[in-house]
Symmetry: D2
Subunit: 402 residues, 4 copies
Amino acid sequence: PCTSGGAHVDACDAPLLVRFLAVRARTVQLIAHLSDEDMVVQSMPDASPTKWHLAHTTWFFERFILRERSPGYEPFDDRFDFLFNSYYEAVGARHPRPMRGLLTRPTLKQILEYRRHVDTQMRCLLGQPLEPEVDARVQLGLAHEEQHQELLVMDAMHLFAQSALKSVFDPEWPLAASGRAAGFRCSGGGWARIGASATHFAFDNEGPQHRVWLAPFAIADRLVTNGEWLSFMSAGGYQDARFWLSDGWEQRCAEDWQSPFYWERHGDRWFQMTPASLQPIDPAAPVLHVSYFEADAYARWAGARLPTEFEWEHAVRTVQGLEQVYDTAWQWTSSSYAPYPRFRAAAGAVGEYNGKFMSGQMVLRGACIATPPGHARASYRNFYRAGQRWMFSGVRLAQDVD
Amino acid sequence: PCTSGGAHVDACDAPLLVRFLAVRARTVQLIAHLSDEDMVVQSMPDASPTKWHLAHTTWFFERFILRERSPGYEPFDDRFDFLFNSYYEAVGARHPRPMRGLLTRPTLKQILEYRRHVDTQMRCLLGQPLEPEVDARVQLGLAHEEQHQELLVMDAMHLFAQSALKSVFDPEWPLAASGRAAGFRCSGGGWARIGASATHFAFDNEGPQHRVWLAPFAIADRLVTNGEWLSFMSAGGYQDARFWLSDGWEQRCAEDWQSPFYWERHGDRWFQMTPASLQPIDPAAPVLHVSYFEADAYARWAGARLPTEFEWEHAVRTVQGLEQVYDTAWQWTSSSYAPYPRFRAAAGAVGEYNGKFMSGQMVLRGACIATPPGHARASYRNFYRAGQRWMFSGVRLAQDVD
Amino acid sequence: PCTSGGAHVDACDAPLLVRFLAVRARTVQLIAHLSDEDMVVQSMPDASPTKWHLAHTTWFFERFILRERSPGYEPFDDRFDFLFNSYYEAVGARHPRPMRGLLTRPTLKQILEYRRHVDTQMRCLLGQPLEPEVDARVQLGLAHEEQHQELLVMDAMHLFAQSALKSVFDPEWPLAASGRAAGFRCSGGGWARIGASATHFAFDNEGPQHRVWLAPFAIADRLVTNGEWLSFMSAGGYQDARFWLSDGWEQRCAEDWQSPFYWERHGDRWFQMTPASLQPIDPAAPVLHVSYFEADAYARWAGARLPTEFEWEHAVRTVQGLEQVYDTAWQWTSSSYAPYPRFRAAAGAVGEYNGKFMSGQMVLRGACIATPPGHARASYRNFYRAGQRWMFSGVRLAQDVD
Amino acid sequence: PCTSGGAHVDACDAPLLVRFLAVRARTVQLIAHLSDEDMVVQSMPDASPTKWHLAHTTWFFERFILRERSPGYEPFDDRFDFLFNSYYEAVGARHPRPMRGLLTRPTLKQILEYRRHVDTQMRCLLGQPLEPEVDARVQLGLAHEEQHQELLVMDAMHLFAQSALKSVFDPEWPLAASGRAAGFRCSGGGWARIGASATHFAFDNEGPQHRVWLAPFAIADRLVTNGEWLSFMSAGGYQDARFWLSDGWEQRCAEDWQSPFYWERHGDRWFQMTPASLQPIDPAAPVLHVSYFEADAYARWAGARLPTEFEWEHAVRTVQGLEQVYDTAWQWTSSSYAPYPRFRAAAGAVGEYNGKFMSGQMVLRGACIATPPGHARASYRNFYRAGQRWMFSGVRLAQDVD
Ligand SMILES: [Fe+3]
Ligand SMILES: [Fe+3]
Ligand SMILES: [Fe+3]
Ligand SMILES: [Fe+3]
């Protein structure tokens, strides 16, 4: 157990501690405009309550660092191991995912206490020299918490979208910026180095680094706009099966898709739900909240295609002038989420972090407006199912080049 | 709008106001041990969040009394008419029932304000002489609020039962009392007067009063106990289709019923969820939380039957020595919930209160430990579906007599 | 086993044999226009394949008479006990009901052989003097087979309705007859004798005979017509929740009911599926294929109500001039299907025939155009769920009388 | 319309006609042991009735060749265009896929007549010189019919597996052959030519031909055996989440997988359903009827992996000694089914043949015992969802090589 308090370290001595404190603080800043009540509810099985995000990210540090690496650590509450494990089979049984919204207890207050308890212990640990494995595990915990920061925004906004009140997650939330339409830029292809090098933290799914041969291609320097999407809609894009993959058409029909998720028509104007409540659609801003099926159909209609994840990564590294790479919307690629050659998941529960999800999902690249600054990188691989739409997802087109 | 304040009336001048204030206050007393967060969640489609109960009962007075009978009344918030209408088609569109748990806003604080706003206006109205229709409508509103008080307990306990924490709704909640086993008492039958007379408030479904011919019968003077139920379980009652109605057997198999709802076995002891958290099963206390299908199977196994709702009502009025009538558990009858002869639902939205539910449900009589004191009466008709189990339901047996 | 052959008995010596042969022959006559392929398919879980009806009715005689009462009887095929048991838990495991349509084997040819095998043995048994229990069991078997004859027509027609070809079950099938509109006739009520006496065969659910007190009432002398139903439709009956029970409105919305089942609009004319394929709606013919929910909504719209099953039975016995009692459509009553006072199901598997279905269904009285002649009687109780519509169900109205 | 009859052509003049007649005849030979009744039923939404396969393959020639290329062609029955279109949106509305089993009409006899009608017209067309597009379309129709021949076997066997009778599809059906266990063989990798050249018929999804760079790898020279699979089972492979993809584990739990599909344990022996009914498991024969999820879990347990589709194709072209390539079971690869670079679906309805299914499926390579001889080739890409199991699917392992 921590006795020293770990205070008064300075940033040069303990840069990881500084980063730890900053990331942890950012999570709590995100909930500034939420009531206790807003934080308890799960609005769909894919989403989690805010409070659960606050607790689960804390549990991650407790479970994978403090319990394993901090001798004598006293868990805050043994029952939390059952309540706040997300999906780690190796760690044991857990509260069912679709019932996370039934956890009205522990209260928010208790969970904030839990956060402080764990933070205190972590502060102590991080004030001391760390073995490399512990250092790596802390970095993983921070990257994990950053991922949940983005999910927290997505999930809270989804909740607010379900009620006629369309509450505000953050009144200062910046709307997606207007801008010029995209042009295509060429890449000569060739051997591309793909994946993360060992010099900085990266998730296991970004490696092993390897090379991939690419044919020449063109890639859009900006994302598809709402105005372009409205043209697709006017042209009957949502009514014409020819543009759609079969599974996509089936889901479109079953759920009656007529526009991107979160779009609502009032009179003759379109609005979309945002963290700053319902806002008018800006034709010059990038389209958000489209599924892979819609992105793919749009690309086909537009006479283009989606880039592969390799083209995307190579372009971001080598093509000049690409905009809206990390600051706007995740960008669908045509690549299924699969292990890179010679990928092996780590032993133990932490090996479940990424590897077991490598089926049935598509890769998105870049980052979005809700992604914590500095979180993503060129090798970063996000992934969702082809029909999911509540994340901040957009479209960057590609084309073959002769 | 109310200007006088309506204060300083005295109970003799305004007994309805006194009752209004008492009923309204009781609702708020019920939530004493709940956190804000506990009150927002809906744990299953049949249940509603505590907060919704608080608001909806208030809306009932606003919608059916203040808006209609208090000229110049300013609604607290026009959007509440959409959010807190339960099922009144004639009043307009409403927030979908299974999504009541997504209403994190308005906050509890705002809803308590809403309650005060409406109470102030009602106090004003009730300080004045009332037309008989308004008086009747207020009494309906109070009976309605009392029904929701019971639902509030049922629903909050259901929520707490879903988590490993098994939180406490009320630490003082009295456990069901131990007592002797039941004996049968005879009734000679004959013409029975059934239903409510016009002299006191009753729900529309309790009338018109009419007479029903009854053959002689015997009825148990107490409810079936947990110990008797354990014998049924030991005898294989949950494994033998011969005792069960076909629909009941199907549901038993689909949901794997092995005991009453809320029972859990830990080691070799049985416990049940109560408003005071998990408690050991007392064999001498009445069984609770059984469905009609279980009650009917038990009765068949025991060589008895359930009473009709007419036998029950007649016995309560004429047979000496019946215990546990209103203070323990609702008692399943073998009667389907149907209109009495010449029943007509009232015109307008209030006519939807009871009449439209007269299919697919069974009548329960009596009242339970969660029913507000004084709420029920001999003619009172409660009703649930044959497979529902989260209410405080028990079994009083009957028998034919030669 | 039968060695005599049992031939050459004469009708006076063996009237039950004569009736047996006639009923068995009628079943086979019903399939005259069906292909082998038509007889194998199950078009919905509530329906059964024709072939299954042919086999199951035969199994009933084998299982409940020959195996129990004909010493030395050799079952045709032991596996049929598993395949053709419908719902008798006491007899053992069985092929799942929703998978009856997967039994392409045994072939029709083998099932017809099975019928002949059982018929031969039954002929032998019935040529001899019978103990009363056996006689009763044979009568039950015949009534059972007659019930399946009607189901066979319903189910085959349902199958044909699912395909654009709208095939013909029987080209000679008589259409429902045109006729005058109904008038109301009065009954003084009083003590009514309800249920079957012991002098003729009746199902167990028709007893015990008992008396019921009835208030005066009026009952329609004919059924509601298609023309009257079209008025209900034009008046917005399917769009106005005020007329509907809550469960009914929910099902109407979920399944988008706009007219009786089997009605289709082509251009500006309405047609309905019949055993003689699609036929134009005759406004002067009785409406068919309506659910209880529709019947109840119609009655409310029409300012009338449905009769109780007791009123219906009493009227049929005592009121002059009622038409369309047994020859047109089953008539919904407002009575839930429940046991009569002192009803006890028989011991053993045969006790499962009726009793275990006494929950969640409504009683229909009379008989329909597909019911075998002579099958029904005044005390006969048919029953379906309130939302079912594929049977030949219609509406006879009733009214209170001062 | 055809008037010449087209007979008496000889094989050298009209080799495509000869092939047409052989393929069409083979389909009809497959049904030799089926009754009319066996051919009408659909045992699950993924399967189709035999009769539907017979008609749909015929419709393909009528719709895409005769109606478009044979001036004056008289369709056999205009309604068949609605009934037997599988999924071609561009061609118009069609009978819903999950309801194919309700088409008892047209009868088998009529469908065989339909086949003869179309065959006669095709014979006429094929006796004449063909334009290249027509020739290609005929070849597509033949490959299509061959694909349905395999489906017909799979679907009929699935039907028979649902009944306790476990009927025989073909008593002569050869059981999977015993043989030695697999060894790994090495490939040096390098640039691999992938996909079909233009010289012979191939499906559009096999092109465009392109090159792919492969690292060195090893590939098994035979398929995983039942005995090896039994070891996986004994080692708890079906109980240990660590081996499984998350989606696979979820499906395993939901459907309670304990062994390959079609395996049944009787006493202490395992059997599997085959076209020759239930047969004992031969430990030295290849495992069949496993999903991608099972194949992937098995490979992980075995310390190996599945090959990519490119490794598979390259190995089949270049590595000596591979057995069980086309004659036993389709072999799961780790490749998602995706378009090759620069793939464009053909214009018009025929473009829907393959392209629109390129999401949510995995590629299998090789061919199986039910595949018509000569149908497959090294570039052939079959595809199923990761959880599907009723096809003849097996496992060929691969490994990384240093
Ligand atoms: Fe997490
Ligand atoms: Fe209410
Ligand atoms: Fe039956
Ligand atoms: Fe096809």
